[in-house]
């Protein structure tokens, strides 16, 4: 099993957010999690990535034969987990290029691969950027600083394509995007998809799933997955909302 979440219960500040959640993802699969606001979708993404604000009450997560709770945030990232943030944070004064260069090399180090030098990295970054229709001038800027909402999301996808994760979690990546930006972002995801990597797409709306075809759709209500199935579920939600699942 590639990712196995078993009976996961999580609380934050005395509030139970995830309740006995189960989810299995195999290599090469695209899963979508849909649910209303406050159902715990983003919490799931952050618990997977290792954010430290949460208290794990119960459950186990296995990722690529590791007990995920044995790994800290950066170790999970280096093992190939990537979270595209809902609200990417600005880091003033930190240039995008060296930032990503350090990121890719820390992953390579863990994988006992040779580090990539400045020049090769600059080339790689340029080519990936142009694939995603990102202006090269953007690469001279500071991480997320002064970016529009759309630019931030596009830059998340650029990072994803550079780091080439085994499991990419997209947390409401579609929120705040106009249709053109949405196309660029979803194109990027579709280009990255192989039989060896998996995607977990968290979304509120069905719109994103018009562009990325999930193999499985899960409905999350009140901290648990209440229904799983194919893309027909997304259509149901589009039609009737989340009401009938609650």
């Amino acid at each position: 099993m590639f990712l196995e979440i078993k009976d996961l219960s999580v609380k934050i500040e005395n509030k139970n957010i995830l309740k006995s959640l189960n989810l299995n993802i195999n290599k090469g699969e695209v899963h979508a999690i849909m649910g209303p606001n406050g159902s715990g979708k983003s919490t799931l993404a952050n618990v997977l990535a290792g954010k430290e604000d949460y208290e794990i009450l119960n459950g186990k997560i296995n990722f690529k034969d590791n007990d995920l709770f044995d790994l800290n945030i950066e170790e999970r990232a280096q093992e190939g987990m990537f979270l595209a943030f809902q609200y990417p944070v600005e880091i003033p004064g930190v240039n995008i290029t060296p930032f990503l260069h350090s990121a890719i090399n820390s992953k390579r180090k863990r994988m006992n691969e040779e580090e990539i030098d400045n020049l090769s990295f600059a080339k790689l970054l340029k080519s990936k950027a142009s694939d995603l229709g990102i202006n090269v001038d953007m690469l001279k800027r500071s991480v997320n600083t002064g970016f529009s909402g759309g630019e931030k999301k596009r830059y998340e996808i650029l990072q994803m394509s550079i780091l080439n994760p085994d499991l990419a979690i997209l947390d409401e990546t579609d929120s705040g995007l106009d249709i053109d930006a949405l196309k660029i972002v979803t194109d990027g995801v579709n280009k990255l998809k192989t039989k060896d990597n998996s995607f977990l797409i968290i979304t509120h709306y069905q719109k994103l799933l018009d562009y990325i075809k999930p193999d499985y759709v899960h409905v999350m209500i009140n901290g648990s997955i209440v229904k799983s199935g194919g893309s027909e579920i997304a259509a149901e939600i589009e039609k009737d909302g989340f009401q009938k699942f609650q």
Binding site: L83, G93, K107, R110
Partner: protein, 483 residues
């Protein structure tokens, strides 16, 4: 005065009586304590003319009546001036390590991280090096090139001998010996430092650095530097080195004076990385520095850039007196304090001439249990029509046991003056750390990256090669601070 000092002084004055200060063996012995004889001894040892000795003695008599300035947000035990060596050449000769194996391995580790070549490491660590290595011959080459342009670049001691007119005219002209007790102290007992004179219209073709001065090894504890840029000239001067220096001295009180005449520009960059004391706050340098620049002529410019990461105590306010019309003063500062370090640093911009402009960018980073204060004074005198100041003070806190303080004074006697002040204090942002770590960077790498980003506005003012080293230094200063 303790008994040891009394004994030392006693034997010292006896020697003086007997031999009149000429015996070489006696002359090499460092003496503790401060009195007129100590000053005479220093002056004699440096073979100075009578007027210089008089100047020193005058400063000393002022010092005796003065008390240390108390404005700073610093706490430290009282300094016993009689328990200090005022002349110790060659530096620490009794304890000089024979090779690098005798040097603190932590220091060597830092040198290696900074990528400093082995031969240079030896010099920095105070190992006796008698081979002539590359940089010395490089220095000689540079010296020849500078001489061709009429640039004088030598030790202050040499300048007193060879250029008395310039020394008499300018020494103490920006920082009068009686300014405060540390300037009086320095004026009385300074032993080394740099002298630079750039002739009219000359653009100095290279960054001048003490590193390139042949006798740079012994820039002592009471350093005195004087830089004069004549009309229309330009010079960029680098002080120090990013590598931590081994130094047994506890008290440092350097004075640096800059004079820019009409249309001249001086850029002065410092990286201060003296021993900050250990994790428990034991030891470390007390660094009381007075740096002041005078924009004497019209359209002149003086720019200070400092990266302060060392010393147990930093007390330092590189300032500009903007006397010439249209003159410009700038101050860019990064001060990082960790463990039990205390820094009280900032600047003073005094606008005297019309259309004078000043800019202050200060970035303070506090970690551990340290205290970091920005203290600045911007004043506009009556005739400073249309003068402007822009001040930006940003503080970054890492952890919750440190402190950041901002103390800006503004005083305007001219109602056409324009003053802008921005200040911010923030804690290192958990979301930023999370974001960086989610991309695979370790906690330490992430902190270092964020802090370097925070300092970028200042670091980019440093000359290119220096900036790269300074970035590494910033990262090293943060080590062990996050767990």
């Amino acid at each position: 005065m303790n008994s040891e000092t009394l004994n030392t002084l006693d034997s010292y004055s006896k020697n003086k009586y007997k031999y009149g200060f000429v015996t070489e063996i006696d002359a090499e012995k460092p003496k503790k304590g401060l009195n007129e004889d100590t000053i005479k001894f220093i002056s004699q040892k440096k073979n100075e003319p009578g007027w210089m000795l008089d100047w020193r003695l005058k400063a000393f008599s002022k010092w005796k009546k003065m008390k240390e300035p108390k404005w700073a947000n610093l706490s430290f035990p009282e300094i016993d001036y009689q328990d200090i060596y005022y002349y110790s050449a060659p530096k620490g000769f009794e304890k000089k390590p024979k090779d690098l194996s005798e040097v603190d391995p932590k220091l060597i580790e830092t040198y290696n991280k900074l990528g400093i070549p082995l031969e240079e490491q030896k010099v920095l660590a105070g190992v006796a090096v008698d081979v002539v290595f590359d940089s010395v011959s490089v220095a000689t080459t540079y010296k020849g090139e500078l001489e061709k342009l009429g640039i004088i670049f030598c030790s202050i001691g040499e300048a007193i001998q060879k250029h008395p007119d310039l020394i008499k005219k300018y020494l103490g002209s920006v920082i009068p010996p009686g300014d405060h007790s540390f300037s009086a102290l320095n004026s009385a007992v300074f032993t080394d430092g740099s002298f630079v004179y750039i002739p009219e219209g000359v653009h100095c073709p290279m960054e001048l650095s003490t590193y390139f001065r042949i006798n740079a090894e012994n820039t002592g504890q009471f350093e005195r530097t004087l830089i004069i840029a004549d009309k229309g000239s330009y010079v960029s001067y680098l002080e120090g080195c990013t590598a931590p220096k081994r130094d047994d001295n506890q008290l440092h009180a350097a004075n640096v004076e800059l004079i820019a005449l009409e249309d001249a520009e001086i850029k002065y960059s410092t990286v201060q990385n003296w021993y900050p004391g250990d994790e428990e706050g034991k030891g470390g340098i007390y660094n009381f520095v007075t740096k002041r620049g005078l924009c004497a002529g019209k359209n002149s410019k003086i720019s200070w850039t400092q990266v302060e990461t060392g010393s147990a105590i930093t007390w330092k306010y590189p300032s500009c007196i903007l006397k010439g019309d249209n003159s410009i003063g700038e101050f860019y500062s990064v001060a990082i304090t960790n463990n039990f370090q205390q820094a009280d640093t900032g600047t003073k911009m005094t606008h005297i001439g019309k259309n004078t402009k000043s800019k202050i960018i200060s970035k303070g980073i506090s970690l551990g249990k340290s205290q970091n204060t920005y203290r600045g004074e911007v004043s506009f005198l009556r005739k400073a029509d249309k003068a402007r100041n822009y001040t930006q003070c940003d503080s970054l806190l890492v952890g919750n046991q440190c402190g950041a303080h901002t103390v800006p004074y503004i005083d305007s006697k001219n109602n056409t003056a324009v003053i802008e002040h921005e200040a911010s204090t923030s804690k290192i942002n958990e979301d930023q750390l999370y974001y960086c770590r989610q991309r695979g960077l370790s906690h330490e790498e992430a902190v270092s990256l964020i802090v370097n980003g925070f300092c970028k506005q200042v670091l980019q003012e440093l000359p290119m090669e220096f900036a790269v080293e300074a970035q590494k230094l910033v990262s090293i200063s943060l080590e062990g601070s996050v767990g």
